[in-house]
């Protein structure tokens, strides 16, 4: 299972990296007259009703595929019969291309933010759990403060301090910073709880009596005990960050149009018609699901299965050797 998860992640990352080649079109290329069009792989589409956005496949024609042209894997040579693997969005842009290009941005922001949150949260939680007492209280109340502040005001205040048009690099830095700070308290709390209890265990006292410094104890022994929790928490934070990027763009603090990202694509899909008539607009959610699935399969703890699946009582007894199981 673990390898399936790794393969999944590898495919997603590879698709994101290879977006300029694999995607049939630029993410901001819009096709007139094909707004919210369904997928067109073999036959091109004709518009039957403009206001109701209804299309029909033109079975007499075929989408003329051209391979390895203009540096792209596959595309259509006819502008009016584009290759829409996942249909088009409300502006007539190819959803599949935007999905791939958007993956780069969303993944980058999410991973960077998760790393930042881990760093910050691990530090705060580790120190709080280890030190205890007043420092613990202060750090935890500090992280509470961060959670309760109205994020929208912070975003608005930050936005107004910036120039009207933000270069994407600045937006990226800003988003990563904000998410790292906002996501850290969740990690901090859990890590703190784990560090606190692990601190009292035998192996910890043993290590410290052998002369391990506080830092070494924390970094080498206590924090790694939280890695299961960290793994799960990160798999929950990453989709939350991708979605939060869209929420922040609501106050103007996001990537400007027409930059594609999964979060903004989902924001545009926020209509009832996305459920009834245009389900392809929800493909970023499906992509996120695959990403989260892959992450989960990788971090999931699978070591205990062998013991518990053993129905033979005698061999069970003989196998209850802790070292054999702690893989």
């Amino acid at each position: 299972m673990k390898y399936f998860g790794l393969t999944l992640l590898a495919v997603i990352v590879a698709a994101a990296v290879a977006a300029p080649v694999v995607a049939p079109y630029e993410p901001d290329r819009s096709f007139r007259g094909l707004l919210n069009a369904p997928p067109a792989l073999v036959h091109p589409l004709t518009l039957t009703h403009q206001l109701e956005q209804r299309y029909e496949q033109d079975l007499t024609k075929r989408v003329p595929l051209e391979w390895f042209a203009h540096g792209r894997l596959v595309s259509s040579s006819d502008e009016r019969a584009p290759l829409l693997l996942l249909g088009s969005d409300g502006y007539g842009r190819d959803v599949f291309s935007r999905l791939l290009y958007g993956a780069r941005l969303s993944l980058l922001v999410a991973v960077a933010s998760a790393a930042g949150a881990l760093l910050l949260g691990g530090l705060v939680g580790g120190i709080a759990g280890y030190a205890g007492g007043l420092l613990d209280d202060l750090l935890m109340r500090g992280s509470d403060f961060v959670i309760v502040l109205p994020a929208m005001y912070i975003a608005l205040a930050l936005r107004s301090a910036m120039p009207l048009v933000l270069p994407p690099a600045q937006v990226f830095a800003l988003l990563t910073g904000i998410f790292a700070v906002v996501g850290a308290p969740f990690l901090a709390r859990g890590i703190r709880a784990i560090v606190r209890s692990e601190k009292r265990l035998d192996y910890a006292t043993a290590a410290s009596s052998l002369g391990a410094s506080h830092t070494r104890l924390l970094l080498r022994h206590l924090l790694p005990a939280a890695r299961g929790f960290i793994g799960v928490e990160i798999t929950m934070l990453i989709p939350a960050f991708i979605v939060a990027e869209a929420t922040l763009s609501y106050v103007g603090l996001g990537f400007p149009d027409p930059v594609a990202s999964w979060g903004t694509m989902l924001q545009e899909a926020r209509t009832i018609r996305a459920f009834t008539d245009f389900p392809w607009l929800l493909s970023p959610a499906a992509a996120m699901f695959l990403l989260v699935l892959g992450l989960n399969l990788v971090v999931q703890h699978t070591g205990v299965a062998p013991v518990y699946n053993d129905t033979d009582a005698s061999s069970r007894r003989s196998r209850t050797d802790p070292d054999a199981v702690r893989s």
Binding site: S30, E52, R159, S160, V251
Partner: protein, 560 residues
Amino acid sequence: MGQLLTRQLRSIRFVVAALSLALAGCRAAPSSNKGSNARELLVSVRTEPRNFTRLGAREEATDLVALLLHAGLVRINRTTDEVEPWLAESWSVSADERQFTIKLRPNLQFSDGHALTADDVVFSFEASYAVNDTMKVGGKPLAVKAVDEATVIVTFPQPFAPGMRLLDNLVILPRHKLESALKNGTLAKAWGVSTPPSDLVGAGPFVLASYQPGQRLVFDRNPRYWRRDARGEVLPYLDRLTLDVIPDENTQLLRMQSGETDATGSALPAESYASLKQGATAGKIRLYDLGAGLYPDMLWFNLKPGAFAGDPRASWIQRDELRQAISLAVDRKTFLDTVFLGAGVPMFGPVSPANKRWHWAGTPETPHDPERARQLLASIGITPSNPARFTIVTMKGRPSFERAVTVIRDELKKIGVTVDTAALEGNALIQEILVVRKYDAAYFNFSLSDTDPAMSPDFWTSAGSEHIWNPEQKTPAAPWEARIDELYRQQVGAVQDHERKRLFNEIQKIFVEHQPIVYFAAPRVFVASSMRVGNAAPSVVPPRLLWSPDTLTIAAPTEK
């Protein structure tokens, strides 16, 4: 140990569940006693009203509530666009067209039984002047005098062509209730949303029965309403009108389809047309296509003198040629197709073709001519070697704005002009336009208060605050601005209709020539109601379906 755990957990769960049930119970109010065959209209609105006097800023929900609670001297019939007598039974005009002698209907009453007399009319004018300038002409108030119980003489400070039309904006407020607030100077805050419903008194078709903040307003019929229909039957036909506060557009639509809402307070965007059409074909919804709307979206540049001081773009960014080039470069068909799904009419001048009385039929239709656009740009120094780049700010969260700006950007790219877009949060945009004024160009929407241009001096004249490309000018910044000011002044005073039309056509001509605002399209307006609603004659002017709430009917619940 584990058993203890599960038992504790179970008891905790039980306690918490009971607690939440109890809390839910204390939120539950006793059901109001309403007959099963009461005629009730359910309306969804997006926001709550701000006050019940309509003396403050204009806002959709507040205006709607005022329509229900209050009445004015006259009313503009939204289907004919003509002034009708309302609380005023008749009026006569003096020879110099400045003095109106208005006779009130006999035996008028407020909803609490108090008589409505000329004193209340005078008071209402005083109240209006204490808070805002809507009832002023040329910046000066009208002189109002009560001659007797049922007669008022209103004198305009200068000849004002629309005449009685101005009085559609005035609601008649009860002197006996609000006089003390006027004397204390607290009138602006009077009758805020926390006022107990029994304190609210008006001459409109409904009274406020209850208000649950954040949830709904319930209006019952006013038994003392003055109006009767042609057969002498007492109005309003409805027994009850409920405004449900539903902030999300999608949820409003779903409620319409499920029958929990009979009408919405706001118009529906083109994207929802398809869902509504499905409902209409299934016979669950009545869909009205009202044709092109009156107040389209606008693109304008910051024409404040000196706004680009020190900016190398100052030589071209405020020039007429730039805007004319934009108008030539943007294909209006593409614009309509992308932004409004083809549902609308192209626009080339400041008045929508839907405003039949005032739209200048001779408005030249700017062709789609990118080549000429390029030439115009070259004439002000924009060439491939010296390209143009500017930013358009607009409001985040309005799909029509965001799509429009995308189309403009894409079309201008074809003539070598780079456009950056910045979608700002609502209030941040207002701050930028109103206070900071450092933007290059903006794409936004303004609705004027009336189809008659004389009612919107703030927009048309250079000293006005709604003269959005360069508001509140001390002296006109350009000769053409001065010319428009002059023409406007003349047409406001001109009493002959054809003379006014000629003058206003002239204004539109200047507008089209200099394009301080570039218009692209006027979208079609769609309104929907449930099948139960009868007698609706929706108009493009807000509140569209509900402009005549006293004549709306609804089929009884059993006939659904």
